[in-house]
Assembly symmetry: D2
Amino acid sequence: MTTIKDSIHGYIEVDPTAAAIMDTAPIQRLRYVRQLGTVQLVYPSANHTRFEHSLGVYHLASRAVEQLGLGADLSERLRAAALVHDVGHGPFGHQTEPAIERHLGRHHDEIGWLLSETELGTVLVDQGLDPDAVAATVDGRGPLGELVSGALDVDRMDYLVRDAHHTGVPYGTIDHDRLVYALRIVDGTLALESGNVASAESALIARTLMNATVYRHHVSRIAGAMLDRASERVLSDGVVAPERFARLTDEELLATLADHEPTADVATRLRERRLYKRAIWARREDVPDRFRGLEYDRTRALEREIAETAGVDPTAVVVDSPAEPTSPESRARIVVDGELRRLEDRSSLVAGLDACAREIWRLGVYAPPDALEAVRDAAAAVFDVTPEIAP
Amino acid sequence: MTTIKDSIHGYIEVDPTAAAIMDTAPIQRLRYVRQLGTVQLVYPSANHTRFEHSLGVYHLASRAVEQLGLGADLSERLRAAALVHDVGHGPFGHQTEPAIERHLGRHHDEIGWLLSETELGTVLVDQGLDPDAVAATVDGRGPLGELVSGALDVDRMDYLVRDAHHTGVPYGTIDHDRLVYALRIVDGTLALESGNVASAESALIARTLMNATVYRHHVSRIAGAMLDRASERVLSDGVVAPERFARLTDEELLATLADHEPTADVATRLRERRLYKRAIWARREDVPDRFRGLEYDRTRALEREIAETAGVDPTAVVVDSPAEPTSPESRARIVVDGELRRLEDRSSLVAGLDACAREIWRLGVYAPPDALEAVRDAAAAVFDVTPEIAP
Amino acid sequence: MTTIKDSIHGYIEVDPTAAAIMDTAPIQRLRYVRQLGTVQLVYPSANHTRFEHSLGVYHLASRAVEQLGLGADLSERLRAAALVHDVGHGPFGHQTEPAIERHLGRHHDEIGWLLSETELGTVLVDQGLDPDAVAATVDGRGPLGELVSGALDVDRMDYLVRDAHHTGVPYGTIDHDRLVYALRIVDGTLALESGNVASAESALIARTLMNATVYRHHVSRIAGAMLDRASERVLSDGVVAPERFARLTDEELLATLADHEPTADVATRLRERRLYKRAIWARREDVPDRFRGLEYDRTRALEREIAETAGVDPTAVVVDSPAEPTSPESRARIVVDGELRRLEDRSSLVAGLDACAREIWRLGVYAPPDALEAVRDAAAAVFDVTPEIAP
Amino acid sequence: MTTIKDSIHGYIEVDPTAAAIMDTAPIQRLRYVRQLGTVQLVYPSANHTRFEHSLGVYHLASRAVEQLGLGADLSERLRAAALVHDVGHGPFGHQTEPAIERHLGRHHDEIGWLLSETELGTVLVDQGLDPDAVAATVDGRGPLGELVSGALDVDRMDYLVRDAHHTGVPYGTIDHDRLVYALRIVDGTLALESGNVASAESALIARTLMNATVYRHHVSRIAGAMLDRASERVLSDGVVAPERFARLTDEELLATLADHEPTADVATRLRERRLYKRAIWARREDVPDRFRGLEYDRTRALEREIAETAGVDPTAVVVDSPAEPTSPESRARIVVDGELRRLEDRSSLVAGLDACAREIWRLGVYAPPDALEAVRDAAAAVFDVTPEIAP
């Protein structure tokens, strides 16, 4: 057993299989992909990486399989899946996910291709693991795949606490110890034992509050949207192949953007934190239905329309209309009076949290400071919203 | 300036007026009144006291008056009120409050009598403070009294974090730094500046979750109910005068109970943690309206009725039917779009949290282990509930 | 397995044997004995108890026996010994230890008498444990007794971290996780595996710094010395039998002092924190050899002499000349280059720390404020020291 | 005032001058320079940056100038110097410092050239500050320059705590609050007020223990030495000009190494954590004087000599013989008995800590795994040491 010191879980014992997996290039690459992408432009301490998070998820999975008393083979597969679960993330994690999906047709949880194309697959086989089964587990399929990706997964238990520790925002401090202790297998599915409604709610609450103050902070959203447009450009221009793009580190992507003239300005702006500003920041109730959760093509067409009206370059307009929020945690199962129930059926909080998530939804239109006024007027007309910036 | 090290706030600077107040016997007594009463029987680390909490509330008040830019006189009064705000608590704090109210007719926030009867009042006068004004502030009245007792008070900001630190339960970890920074006076009333809905919600959430896991834990409720019945007995029997009772420490009360034959058994049970058990533990929806939030006389009559039916001594039955929950935090004011709003009007969470508070409500009937079965059957009949113990 | 939430170690799993032991009156009593006695008069948050500490020591012992791969019987004995290791402490722990030794002839680590006289012994037998073997282990004797009481014991690992958490003083934050991981049995004795000199030093450093800022703080020493004199009086006056005295709680002792006229004043002074002050506070190098580490009878004779010279009541003079400091941690064994060495032979820090411990040694003479000047002059003459108060 | 949330200090208030300085490219660049360079290869959570550290140092400087009651102009200069104090660091901070000194002749504390060549100088002037005075302060010169760079500087107070928080190693947890509170100006120089010897020692201890477990960990030293050799190569080969090199980010340096054929292998090895291993790791007492603290040219000559003997490529041998340790903290001034003393004259620990620092000194010779044996034999002969790896 190797032990590694972690800022969240203290000493983490790493079994030999996991140690071999960790030593591969695809996992080592995660040292250079920040867990929260551009959030560090708002919370300067948020520089933790997907590598340390992966190690933390592995640790919680190890404790969970022990708690559940699982057999050796399944335990090993679950631990391995926990360790590699984020290997499919591109640079800046979720923030380049849409661009990768458009060009590669793959979600970050689909890691089969990575296993077959890199040494990672070979190492799994060498360690007696079936790469397909590991890939399925990462995608939440197969026996107890839900432990790695599901309503009660250890991914969530790690990132909420870790993000809280590294941003300094306390809302994510859930009681992951208790959640792991409370895990049970009931009727073949993962559930929390009786008496843990409050713990299950706390994870849901933590994510809702972290969304409001960290994950969906407007400065990070602006930077993320700028990054998406520039990523699209280097991909469309053939500067970098999609398969290669998906395996860049954060900094390699910035270097790629800096080296391509049409995206060089965005690279400098991100580096020096000279970001676009909010021209429009509109609440859900003020935005017509048809403008919520816009498809990508429609988004780009609207950007061009606004740019034309405003008389500015199309790259000077970024429209950001995210999809409606969802809350997977609310489907967590919990034992109540000896029966299995969904959290949402037992918790009086879930509806409130869903409403809360809708409350923080915003339509954003962003532009460089010198084009802000023109873009605001044009966008207000296009979206039929009043141009004030709601807080 | 004296500085005192605190486990929550680090170094606390104590001004000379506060230092003089701290040196009085009524404040020193708070060293011997646990902040959470019998909760230590569930969470063994929860031994923090109302003394250190008072110091913490004083510290947050000091920072708040500075943040708000208040004048010297008002600042001094608010700081003093923060420091003495808990001086009216009897032994075990809230857990003997009903007994004290029955016999003394006073709530713990009414401290006027204490100021006039003890050296505390003299010290306040010596320090140039008006005891009546300080007493009014503690009661939430007068200029900015709401800072000490109100929807956004510093009392709450301290105890949630302190209770989390000392129990080891993380849900109370609100961002008190941000709440204090966000305080504003708008139209003469305390409010949070724009952009702090999530922070305000976090305090409400923290209390709801701490209620579910700590404050309303059934073991602590059982011990508290046993304490109330024994307190009633020593007061009714004239063993100790109400004015004296209200100023006992936790341990002095236990010693008083131990020395009086009819209450000696309860004292030993509390000391050795051999508590009554739950005969009935019924959800709100299973309990007829007329049995929720029972008046004290009615409660005692029901206990006698159940005891008679069960054929046990009346002291072997304790009925615990608390009042409906309230949430003062939901009335906190917050600036939204330049206007003052109530949190409950802006937060989609408040309704969910109110429902959640109703969810954790329980009717309890408690009895010694050897009388449990008999009391359960008798109580189930009297309350018309099924005798299962809901979790 | 029962689980209990602790502020330091999170969830602690308690095995059935330990649960039965915990439920006995002698262990429950530890809820009412503060870990740091009168230190709460300096650090108001230091109200943690020997009960929660005992639980923490049990937890570390559980992890250590697992780490060392010990057999079931020895493991159970060590865990039980860890849990009961402090049961022999009198009220205020170390602060009444000298009085108890004078009157009862027993050190707190000798718990055999307690096991035979209380239900604790019976419960141990019921659980298949040998009370004599458990008592020997608590005293550091028998197989791996050093894990409970020795240079690398789990007692120390818990209290340094717990005292830091509850006082707010950070110096005690040693890496107990690493120390437990590093435990090995080499040649039948407990040792740290190679590469852990820094970890071993950290425990020694932590205690040295905690001594300087917390454990030997003059305010706590004054209160402790006052307590000792009053304890001596109630014991000498036969107010309470030594066996009974040794089993009082903190508050029961204060009540006992308050009820006896000659000690009532001290009880009130401790309660209201109106303590004696330093008349003399002299460094080691300024105090003649013969006055360092005074025997008790000599101490009391000197107090009478000073009182007479000063013309004050003998109870108005307290002389406090502690023994020379020792450092058991420096004898911890550690593997270096494959061989077993003492930490003091490998660590360049040990000598420095020993000197540091001598540095903070002080001779104190304490008196009530109104007798301070008279006592100072008399004591300076008796001890042949200059009367300044060194910081 | 802008406020920024920090993982260590909570909310940091940033004055307008500091906000303007923060917005410059040289300061924003520090977001991409890790505080601990290659330490993240040992402690995966150690990804915090010189940007957040600079903010923390600024915060402590703000509190210190307030505590000391300094005038507005000096305060502003000290705060600005605190914020920019690390701007002179090259990529990977201290780890490229020798290469930069060899080629540029400048230490990282000499930032005058940066101020005159970048927008940073202009912004300082715009804010009414004298760039030369700020540069002198960063270098520890001028009025209270020692607050930014000296025995009691705020740099140290921040990094010890921050490095502890982000590595998860607890030894760095000094009491920076108390140190700042204890700062005084005595005879025109910075000192700690009486009664703070233990606090001053704690900073010295923390650094000694952090050295042993974190800063001087052999894996990080190996990576750092590999980085130095590769940096030397790209500088010598003229791949990048020294002035440009000094302003690269961590990742830009790795990209530069990857693009130059002779250093590409090192870049991949660092990226994938396939590092050289220890061929020799010898204690101070086993290494002849003439081989301790080797000059750079001599080091490289020895590498070539060893490589020739071993029959391997010269890049396959890295010799690492650091200078003797120093301890600036031991010269901190402290008030004792009303007089100003050096900590080293008052603390019995300093000599022990100095010896401890010598204890952890090691001569290292590193090589790729496939050349390890050959290099070990050759190096043992050259250095006249036994080839075992001391732990």
